[in-house]
């Protein structure tokens, strides 16, 4: 059995990343279970027949009908619904212990590679005496493959142990629906040990300060990226006008935030936001590994750069070779003209 930690958004819908994880669990069930000792599948449960095999979901907190429907279409055979006063506020240890309590003796536990997913899977691994693999992208008979170096390389590894504990890298797998199941819903109301509640969130402050809000960036359909090539703190005029024309968001490289030209919330990359826009326009960004890690999810990549050989141009779908200020100035003018 593969147990998947599922995150839901404010409206109760299954997060895209969790849908990816569920799809991965379902389509890779046999490969994951082959990693276990003797390659023995967990015969106590129905895993013999992937993809409809046993993928079970854990949802903490409210479980909407919509979510149940979505989990059904993603082939989940059973939903563990955890709801208790102790779990209401997030505490990694308490949540992890609740996961451990329903995890199989042998099998797999996975989550998407979000901050929550990473944290919980590590706690689960420690508490079950297992290893953990972060940012897995594939599983086969030779083991797991996971992203390292922000996606610039892959590490092949074997976890060993009785339980495969891992997180799935973002965009490693496209969510795919399957023949809907009728998931059994098991509700658990665990009580947590006092010790596990020490790291509970005491309060959450919804951002009013735009400087810290990354949601515009991660949800935008169009992101205009700007790098050192902008030249100075005052060089963002053309870029911001283009952002406005596209109703999109500005994303910047780490150099730009490092220089203090823009806030960290606008940073895209390995240590900033990972974005999934329909189009990403990289202006004067050469394409350092750390930055490329954040834009893998962009559907269309457009580069504006003086260096035809730069990584960004080479990886782009479309490119214009030239000075970003000149090119974007002309693009803005063209958009204004076409609008009339």
């Amino acid at each position: 059995m593969t147990l998947v930690f599922v995150e839901t958004d404010e409206s109760g819908q299954v997060a895209l990343t969790s849908a990816e994880a569920l799809t991965f669990a379902r389509t890779n069930a046999s490969a994951l279970l082959q990693q276990l000792p003797d390659g023995a599948p967990d015969t106590s449960r129905e895993v013999a027949a992937p993809p409809s095999g046993s993928t079970e979901a854990v949802v903490v907190g409210p479980l909407s009908e919509e979510a149940v429907g979505e989990l059904s279409r993603l082939g989940v055979s059973r939903i563990h619904h955890l709801e208790s006063a102790d779990l209401e506020a997030y505490s990694a240890t308490a949540w992890a212990q609740a996961l451990v309590d329903i995890a199989p003796e042998t099998g797999a536990v996975l989550a998407s590679g979000t901050p929550r997913g990473m944290e919980l899977m590590t706690h689960v691994a420690v508490r079950t005496g297992e290893r953990m693999a972060a940012n897995v992208v594939a599983a086969d008979e030779e083991g797991l493959l996971r992203q390292v170096l922000g996606g610039a390389a892959f590490e092949r590894l074997q976890l060993g142990g009785d339980l495969q504990v891992l997180t799935l890298a973002g965009h490693a797998c496209n969510p795919e629906e399957t023949t809907p199941t009728t998931p059994e819903i098991l509700t658990h109301s665990p009580e947590s040990a006092a010790e596990d509640l020490r790291t509970r969130v005491v309060r959450t402050e919804v951002e009013t300060d735009a400087d810290n809000d990354t949601s515009g960036l991660t949800q935008a359909r169009a992101v205009v990226g700007a790098g050192r090539g902008v030249g100075s703190e005052n060089g963002f005029g053309e870029v911001l006008e283009l952002v406005d024309h596209l109703g999109g968001a500005l994303g910047v490289s780490r150099v730009v935030t490092g220089l203090g030209w823009r806030p960290h919330s606008e940073q895209v990359g390995q240590t900033g936001s990972r974005i999934t826009p329909d189009v990403y326009i990289a202006c004067g960004i050469s394409g350092a590994i750390q930055h490329m890690a954040g834009i893998e999810g962009a559907k269309t990549l457009i580069a504006i750069n003086t260096d035809e050989e730069s990584t960004m141009v080479q990886r782009a779908d479309y490119a214009i070779i030239g000075d970003l200020h000149e090119v974007i100035g002309a693009v803005n003018e063209e958009i204004r003209n076409r609008r009339g």
Binding site: T306, D307, E308, E309, S310, T311
Partner: protein, 837 residues
């Protein structure tokens, strides 16, 4: 992807300051169909220009480099990218102050305004410098900074605007085809280009590109560490990129240069950190640029401490942060000079490498002229790529010498200073004997040459005061009074000189006479057995060389020239041979040469040979083979020391035997071994013999150096037209010999000039010749036979008057001198009786 032309008149590789300057000047000189490639993007493709500190201090001890720098500054100013800031070279020690006084001599000699100033005067302009750390400084108001990337762009675009140039960035050279010893085509990542000329101007990568054609550009990438700190409040108050003078902290080998509100600190003080051209990271793998290597903190830490001492107010501020730190790569060569010109290994392969930003545009112009006319207007022969002897092109030699030289970038380098590394590469057959005699070896072109022999120390007593001993440490460094004692022994008895380092080559074949006739000034249609000393001129009538040629047969001429410049001569001749009928073969390693001179030379030689060596039987200026015991010796009766005697040529393997035979025979005649100190300086200077590289260079005419012969031969030769024009015109300068009248300095110690000092009028005014050059000492040395210290200098014709009283400025003190010769007339033995006896 943009396509690339399939044909080019020249492919220029590298779009740094040098390559950009070259395409500009080539286009100016009429070149078309130039293709300019760089593997990086524009305007900064990632080479050394991109991280250069971009400041220019015009004064260098080398006139050649100074001329290139001054021309470069002129060009940067025309391009509007030069900002004058002024610059201080500060001294922390008295030893450095002496060096700065010597620097003043160079400034005056090259006509550049500079002043020695007190610590307080430095602080007036650089208020954040701690005056208690320094003892004085050298101020040059014309120091400035340039935008080298901007200059390159303007120059490249000027060539493009002429329709002369296709620029192809992001284009890597992947191979070079050589056919019949000449460039045939250049392969690039964008396709092949048919061309007969490739110009390699890609700095640290140059050896790698040259190697594709099987040629060597012997330089090594080396690290120059640089950090940038900021923001500095004292600097931020000012507007613009630079408002404070640049400070070179000479004793710590560091510089501090303002850049906006930041201060850049660069260092040449760390260990030499060398890299291999093939191991420089690719553009894709480099964090910053390929030539901005990861910084190694440990190497820089001592410099930080020293910088902090000098500028404590600025640098101890905890808000001033180290924001950028690199191990920047630059190019170093084994002798410190750039590598310019056409490779002697592959026809059509040109190099313009190991050039600093301060010389870039000047080098661009010079090399473009060279490629166009065969000779640049300014003399750059010290940088000729053809100068390297085979061992000097090896990796080992390059690494050894650059490691040793790195620390000398700001060091105090004595003009006579010798290398420690990679010695004993070329040893004469007499080497073991010389060592036994306590020879002190100086090295040239790999050859270990005795400069003087400690075994001659007893001569000091014999000659007493006449050896003109020197008490000042600097004047006597790399010098010994034994040199002067050997000189006197030669003049009075006889001396034996090891001349193994001569570069020797034969020009032979049916058309050999026409070939040499067309290359040299002197009449070469002479009888067999004649020895001819002759200038070799370039198209402008300037000196390419001076050398001797023996006519050994109707169809064979043997050329003998100096070690330092000899390889360039070989190429100069080889390039000018007719298509067929002549060949050239280098024999340097086949023959050793022993010089035997002095009034007793004939007595000694006649004792070991049955040949007729009488004045009538063996005339001056002739050569023939004589038997010395069982040895066949090619004896040539000429002299560079101005005394009776012979150069004796013998196969290498028999050199030792000849040396021993002569030594034994000479004992009763008082023969002594004599070092190159006599041969290269004292012997020649009292005879007024000119030396290539000192008095003779491509900017000097035969007339100016007083070597014009009564008639010019009717046959054509390189530079003939120019030479004829020079003969018609009044000379713009005249080479004179001067004697120093009083050596006493202010503190009473006698001082002896070493060369490079300015010559001024009695009241201290500069003397400027018709070229605009300031008068300076080209050679200096003892003339023991005269008991005088003699200087050579080009003077304005009006000052070239016998008996004219002038001054020489040495270490910032003036000494009286008198013009003693205004042509080639020797001060010693003016009628040359000693030679023709």
């Amino acid at each position: 992807m943009a396509s690339i032309p399939t044909q080019a008149s020249v492919v220029v590789v590298g779009a740094g300051i040098v390559g950009n300057s070259l395409v500009h000047h080539l286009a100016e000189l009429g070149w078309r169909d130039i293709v300019h490639v760089d593997k990086g993007p524009l305007p900064n493709p990632g080479g050394s220009t991109g991280h250069a500190s971009n400041f220019i201090f015009p004064v260098d001890h080398s006139r050649e480099i100074t001329d290139l720098t001054l021309d470069s500054v002129r060009q940067y100013k025309e391009l509007g990218v030069f900002t004058q800031s002024g610059g201080f070279e500060v001294a922390r020690t008295q030893e450095r102050m002496q060096e700065l006084r010597r620097r003043m001599a160079s400034a005056k000699a090259w006509g550049i305004e500079s002043h020695l100033v007190t610590p307080e005067e430095v602080v007036e302009k650089v208020p954040f410098l701690d005056p208690s750390v320094i003892v004085g400084a050298f101020w040059t108001p014309t120091v400035g900074v340039v935008d080298s990337v901007g200059a390159g762009t303007i120059m490249r675009e000027s060539a493009q605007n002429k329709g002369a140039l296709t620029v192809s960035p992001n284009t890597e050279v992947t191979g070079i085809d050589v056919e019949n010893g000449a460039i045939a085509r250049v392969h690039t990542t964008k396709g092949p280009i048919e061309t007969d000329t490739i110009l390699i101007a890609c700095g640290v990568w140059s050896p790698r590109i040259a190697a594709m054609a099987g040629a060597a550009i012997p330089l090594t990438p080396a690290v120059h560490q640089m950090i940038s700190v900021g923001p500095v409040p004292q600097l931020a108050e000012q507007t613009g990129e630079i408002s404070f003078p640049i400070v070179r902290d000479m004793d710590t080998f560091c510089y501090e240069r303002q850049h906006g509100s930041d201060m850049e600190i660069g260092s040449y003080a760390h260990r030499a950190i060398l890299h291999e051209p093939d191991e420089i990271p690719s553009i894709e793998a480099a964090k910053l640029s390929p030539t901005e290597m990861p910084f190694t903190d440990d190497d820089f830490d001592p410099q930080l401490e020293q910088a902090l001492e000098l500028m404590p107010d600025v640098l101890s501020n905890p808000d001033v942060e180290i924001r950028y730190a690199i191990n920047g790569l630059l190019s170093l060569t084994p002798d410190g000079a750039p590598i310019l010109g056409e490779s002697p290994e592959v026809q059509g392969l040109w190099s313009a490498a190991a050039v600093w930003v301060k010389e870039g545009p000047g080098v661009g112009r010079a090399v473009a002229e060279w490629m166009t006319n065969g000779c640049p207007e300014v003399d750059v022969q010290g940088a000729d790529i053809a100068r390297f002897h085979p061992h000097q092109r090896t990796r080992e030699h390059v690494r050894a010498r650059t490691s040793e030289a790195f620390i000398k970038t700001y060091g105090i380098v004595h003009p006579g200073e010798q290398w420690n590394s990679d010695r004993n590469v070329r040893l004469s057959p007499m080497h073991a004997r010389e060592k036994e005699l306590g020879a002190v070896f100086f090295e040239v072109a790999g050859w270990e040459r005795p400069q003087w022999y400690e075994s001659n120390a007893p001569l000091l007593e014999e000659f007493g005061e006449r050896v003109m001993d020197r008490t000042a440490e600097w004047d006597s460094r790399w010098w010994s009074p034994i040199i002067n004692a050997e000189h006197l022994a030669l003049r009075e008895r006889a001396g034996l000189v090891d001349l193994s380092s001569f570069v020797i080559f034969d020009v032979f074949g049916p058309a050999a006479l026409d070939a040499v006739q067309s290359i040299v000034l002197a009449q070469m249609d002479v009888s067999i057995g004649r020895v001819v000393y002759t200038p070799v001129l370039d198209e402008t009538g300037g000196f390419r060389s001076d050398l001797t040629i023996m006519r050994l047969a109707h169809d064979r001429f043997r050329v003998v020239t100096g070690a330092a410049h000899g390889m360039v001569d070989v190429k100069w001749f080889a390039d000018r041979l007719p298509e067929t009928g002549t060949q050239i073969t280098e024999l340097t390693s086949s023959w050793t040469t022993i010089g035997l001179w002095g009034p007793r030379a004939r007595d000694i030689l006649s004792q070991v040979t049955n040949a007729d060596v009488s004045h009538e039987g063996f005339k001056f200026g002739t050569a023939r083979t004589i038997e010395v015991g069982s040895l066949q010796v090619l004896a040539s009766r000429i002299s560079y020391v101005g005394d009776l005697g012979w150069e004796l040529y013998i196969p290498m393997e028999s050199g030792l035997r000849l040396w021993d035979v002569l030594t034994e025979a000479g004992t009763e005649h008082g023969l002594v071994p004599v070092g190159l100190g006599v041969y290269g300086t004292t012997g020649r200077i009292e005879k007024g013999y000119r030396a290539f590289g000192a008095e003779l260079d491509s900017e000097r005419s035969v007339i100016e150096v007083g070597m014009a012969r009564p008639k010019v031969k009717s046959q054509n030769f390189v530079g003939r037209d120019a030479h004829l024009r020079h003969r018609e015109a009044d000379p713009k300068a005249i080479l004179c010999s001067l004697t120093v009248d009083d050596h006493r300095s202010a503190n009473g110690e006698k001082r002896y000039m070493l060369g490079g000092e300015p010559i001024r009028s009695q009241d201290g005014q500069p003397l400027i010749d018709g070229h605009g050059h300031h008068a300076f000492v080209t050679s200096a040395g003892s003339a023991p036979s005269l008991g005088k210290h003699v200087l050579m200098a080009f003077l304005p014709p009006a000052e070239a008057v016998l008996g004219n009283q002038l001054t020489v400025v040495y270490m910032e003190e003036a000494y009286p001198v008198t013009v003693a010769s205004i042509d080639a007339t020797p001060l010693f033995d003016p009628s040359n009786e000693s030679i023709r006896r």
